[in-house]
Assembly symmetry: C2
Homo-oligomer: 213 residues x 2
DNA sequence: CGGAGTATTGAGTACTCTCAATGGAAGTGG
DNA sequence: CCACTTCCATTGAGAGTACTCAATACTCCG
């Protein structure tokens, strides 16, 4: 596994605090989707908003999450190029989404979906496949959370995310400790400690160049 | 919440140990789906098998799960009437499925799916909706697992499952402690202790008739 | 050279897990 | 009809792990 730390380091630069621009998809449009770019940390949509659009990642990484009752953030997923996110059963978004890195996404109109699927065979297959893949990823997430020890969670997570990143040619994956923690339901400190421990055991390399597990 | 224990009690009768009949869908057939009934505990499909079919619950409850490396069982979901399960991105089932209670299910041919969706507008909407709903449920599961304390997990789980059961008119939900435990990533003992504690606090009623939380 | 944000590390606490024993309900067979 | 078996639930005790609080270090940036 390429250490998750790698990217972290040389990506500190483009920092983003609060989301700024909130407008729905803008810019050019293909027949079926509107392209949009977001900066690191920039808001895409927020929990509770009307889900007029769902999205597909073209480049970069998007993070979806929700804030739990106790104020903790639960990250629902990291979405890499090719992944679909924000397609809801209800009329409102259950999660918030923002850029983990700078990203390009395509927005599809939710209301038009049925019409589009009727007309367009290729798109139908694509959407169906994307949905099932998304389902797969969420199920993976469940299995991850089902592991008992922090070490196991983190090991499997690193393998999994590294695999996905390489598969999608994504080298820019600026995960912070808190991202991993909030994804796996651990505390930042535990993530830090565990990574340190894994590094000491030579299982991973922290901070250097990418290398194998 | 109607206590999960209720159903447990008056459902002990039909016990089932290992799965027996393994054959794919049998019996009558509509144009698009093959109906099948399973007994409590009876195998529907097993992890690793070719995913020639996916299923929809007509009546009863189905449980999907996988066995983790350490031998523990992680339950992926409880599927109530109307729910779809077993639709895979790959060619093989990632989970095993068996009846939590006696159940009737309809099997759909996976390979025929594309053709069916092309021809049948109604079915397409149905499948799409079912998929998104399934995604929702898995995301709920993630949020459940993301909670920090056993008490919170169990409280939210009971609320959630009770809501779903009532919505689908399901009164027969023979959940054991181990089912809850394996779904939430807890030990049986912790589930038992927590339920006892909740009962003492008057939050739930154990073993009696259904009642509100 | 501060300042902000993040990562690391330590100490103590709290929670859940594991191991183990007991109790209860249901089914089996004499 | 009752012993016997089996499975599940409950409860206790002790151990281990992750959490919280807290202080310190590091990196990038203005």
């Amino acid at each position: 596994v390429g250490s998750a730390k790698d990217n972290l380091v040389h990506l500190f630069g483009p920092r983003a605090a609060g989301g700024v621009s909130a407008e729905p998809p803008a810019v050019d449009a293909g027949a079926v989707g509107l392209s949009r770019t977001v900066r690191r940390g920039e808001r895409i949509f927020t929990e509770g908003e009307t889900a007029d659009f769902f999205y597909k990642v073209v480049s970069g990484v998007v993070r979806t999450y929700t804030i739990l009752d106790d104020g903790r953030r639960q990250i629902a997923g990291f979405h890499l190029p090719g992944d679909v996110f924000g397609l809801e059963a209800g009329t409102h978004h259950r999660f918030s989404a923002n850029g983990l890195s700078a990203a390009t996404i395509v927005a599809y109109s939710r209301p038009d979906l049925d019409t589009l699927l009727e007309a367009n065979n290729a798109l139908r297959k694509q959407v169906l496949t994307s949905l099932v893949l998304e389902l797969d990823r969420v199920q993976d997430h469940v299995l991850l959370l089902g592991h008992k020890t922090a070490r196991e969670k983190i090991e499997v997570f690193l393998l999994c995310i590294a695999e996905r990143a390489s598969r999608s040619q994504t080298s820019n994956l600026p995960l912070q400790r808190s991202d991993i923690a909030d994804f796996l339901g651990l505390s930042r400190e535990t993530v830090s400690r565990t990574l340190t421990q894994l590094a000491c055991n030579g299982i991973i390399e922290v901070k250097g160049r990418p290398n194998e597990r």
